[in-house]
């Protein structure tokens, strides 16, 4: 099975992935989407007003094959919640 590498960045915190074997590019895409969604569950609840999650997926040759980005912003309107 081919290896894929899922590098991630949350704010300024970067992780270079050491690789996961998956059946094909479709499986890599599903894994990337699921992981980004799970990271949102972990990181967004503690985000005060904004958060930014980015993922780059590389194939075994090091070629970038996918880019995922999630921008999150919370704005108070009218000041009632302050």
């Amino acid at each position: 099975m081919p290896s894929f590498f899922f590098d991630t960045q949350v704010g300024t915190d970067q992780y270079r992935d050491d690789g996961t074997e998956l059946s094909d590019a479709d499986a890599a895409r599903d894994e990337a989407v699921r992981t980004t969604a799970e990271m949102a569950r972990d990181y967004l609840p503690t985000a005060k007003s904004q958060a930014n999650i980015v993922m780059w997926v590389r194939d075994a040759e090091g070629k970038a094959v996918l880019h995922l980005a999630l921008d999150f912003a919370v704005k108070t309107i009218g000041g009632q919640l302050e």
Partner: protein
């Protein structure tokens, strides 16, 4: 050979002796109820959902998992078992399995025919309570997993799982100092946490980066137990490690 069986039951006896004292007659009764030692290759299905069992299985060496499969094929691991654990003692009164048990690694197991266990429940009330305790420990661990899965972020969840596995291994003499064998795959780990493989790998890297653990060749080494325990909010009360009359 009775002496082989006595050795094979050693981890079970330790697991029980951590929590209570066994009489020699109770040990003999368990040895008498034990079948032959069997070798199973890794990834063997030990029992399946819907199956009616006439024996329960004690794990002598290796790691097994209880598994539940969703219709789409996704797998949830609901527990890991190590040497000295009955993988399905609850099957004695339940009879029909509501989940599967799978060998994660190559395993040695012993079958305990339910007729023999029934004899124990009729002749050895204290030993019966200790066996009951073992099934209650399974449910205490399930409660903890459920709470951790519902409430914790993934890094803390992974830290908790490692604290639990280390504490359980240590209690039956399976830890080597600060290290213990935990040869599960990335996929096993992810399926036990209900998270993606990549997300769990990322968390593992975070624990390594923080200098809390090493994980190489199926062996986990705890580098900073107080910090790992604090991160995981690990409180071993639910493992009931006190020696008390049951």
């Amino acid at each position: 050979m009775t002496s082989d069986k006595r050795d094979a039951l050693d981890r079970l006896f330790r697991r029980m002796e951590v929590r209570d004292t066994l009489a020699e007659a109770e040990r003999d009764a368990l040895i008498g109820a034990a079948g032959e030692i069997r070798d199973l290759p890794a990834r063997t299905r030990i029992s399946s959902k819907g199956e009616e069992l006439s024996h329960s299985t004690l794990l002598v060496t290796g790691i097994t998992a209880r598994t539940v499969y969703m219709e789409a094929g996704d797998r949830q691991i609901t527990s890991f078992h190590i040497a000295g654990d009955f993988v399905d003692l609850h099957a004695f009164p339940l009879k029909i399995m509501d989940h599967n048990v799978e060998a994660i690694t190559a395993c040695k197991v012993i079958h305990f025919p339910h007729d023999g266990l029934r004899h124990i429940t009729e002749q050895f009330p204290h030993l019966t309570r200790v066996l009951w305790l073992l099934t209650l420990l399974d449910s205490a661990i399930h409660r903890q997993w459920l709470s951790v899965m519902g409430q914790m972020q993934v890094v803390e969840h992974l830290a908790h799982l490692l604290c639990e596995q280390f504490t359980r291994a240590k209690a039956v003499g399976l830890a080597d100092g600060d290290a213990f064998r935990f040869p599960v795959t990335q996929e096993d780990l992810a399926d036990s946490m209900g998270r993606s493989i990549v997300h769990v790998n990322r968390s593992l890297q975070s624990l390594r980066r923080q200098g809390l653990i090493q994980w190489q060749g199926g062996e986990v080494k705890i580098l900073d137990w107080p910090a790992l325990q604090e991160l995981a909010e690990f409180d071993p009360t639910y493992l009931h490690l006190e020696k008390l009359p049951r």
